[in-house]
Symmetry: C2
Subunit: 277 residues, 2 copies
Amino acid sequence: MYLATMQIEQFKEKGYLLIENLFDEREVELIRTEMLQVIAEDCPRRILEKNGSVRSFFAPDHSNEIFEKIVKLKRLVIPAAQLIGTDVYAHQTKINSKSAMTGDWWEWHQDYTYWKKDDGMPAADVLTAMIYLNDVNEFNGPMLLIPGSHKIGTVDEGENISGDGENGNNWFEEYKTSTFYMTALTADLKYTLKQEEIARWAKQRGIESAKGPAGSVLFFHGNVFHASSNNLSPWDRYSFLVTYNSVNNQLEAVEKPRPEFIASRNFDKIVPVHDHL
Amino acid sequence: MYLATMQIEQFKEKGYLLIENLFDEREVELIRTEMLQVIAEDCPRRILEKNGSVRSFFAPDHSNEIFEKIVKLKRLVIPAAQLIGTDVYAHQTKINSKSAMTGDWWEWHQDYTYWKKDDGMPAADVLTAMIYLNDVNEFNGPMLLIPGSHKIGTVDEGENISGDGENGNNWFEEYKTSTFYMTALTADLKYTLKQEEIARWAKQRGIESAKGPAGSVLFFHGNVFHASSNNLSPWDRYSFLVTYNSVNNQLEAVEKPRPEFIASRNFDKIVPVHDHL
């Protein structure tokens, strides 16, 4: 699938592009079924909410063929390459499970901040494709975005050092000293944007919520300001996210690299060969 | 102002009724200005969020003439009496300030549970009029309600005894032992509904969000299930709430009555004499 010029223009203007029904019902059902098996595994790739439910699961494609296949689908890789303007590789993949009644919120942040500071990514030539595995409505914590905020660049903000690791993850407790990167992954984000800064931009440019049916895909720029509320509804809001980075934007060496399952250092361009799940 | 039959029917059916623009711009501006003075007072009636911002301020009408006047306005008292079916008095009044960027969430709950268990209110012949002091949109934490849930009656649920008083309120720390009633007032609610129960009803009946312009008034039944998300937007969501109870539903004696500013024991019916602020 190739994007139309108008779609590319919209991405450049707003910093995101929602395409509905890029996956059909059968495919969504298949992915959801695989997902439940994947996230059942208690391992370092699994991050829990403070209340003990699963928040994220990194690199499901490392242990599951369906997820491995999704990352290389034409309908994702071709648009990603068009929007970035070069060939791409997958920098990070993860499942975010904002579960019914328990899914917690995400503070306003820019993804690229983490990839720059923690992973040594030189430029923001990077985007994420978020595949909706459930219908996303106003009640189950849709992603909120500030249109055009990716043009502001990376906002310089302080590190939030209050992260106290209260995420109910035993694995975290056990390896606390070595898992410095965990602070980027729980509800207490390591880098968050200054509230006054966000408030100023949101007042000026408004906020949009990316609602859409299961099977939709949201492509969003690494620098766009985004957040989401907790899920007070009885409807899960699962999603699978693939971050595509330009092959010309490979990670530089950093002092304490995060694990391969969070920041891949396999920079081979993806050659999308199939489009069937 | 008298409600039309259709409005009364809607309240009976759904458990709430939103009337837009019951207060005009000048009045809303006036109330907001008075409010900022009122909530600046550091006193036992003021409840803080965990992050230190004001969450609620009880009985602003005890210290401010404008709020005292609002409670007795014809446009509130007459509809309240129509919906309840008898004369009414004010059981509780408070400002809820879900501030921009910082306002915290409210778990699913039924108000009447508190009034029954903590205040000795015999029946659920009680409703709250919530006056919107800002535009309420999908981003600043609108009240979420499950239509028709008031018909289920009061759901029997356990006490949430995990309330740890982490609300940053010094006054709370000082008087911890005597302020048992505080647990009903912070983000860690004392009585919350079982998640499975809520999920079941919400799936069956759906969820509605009570969005509307500043000056709107939401009348909602004491037994209706409601909740609201945190406020991730740059727009405040202040409101003033007056709980009207039937004069035939006076509080019975309880072992440890909550303070007068939380549960009034002046049961005199309100005679609404004016409708001007």
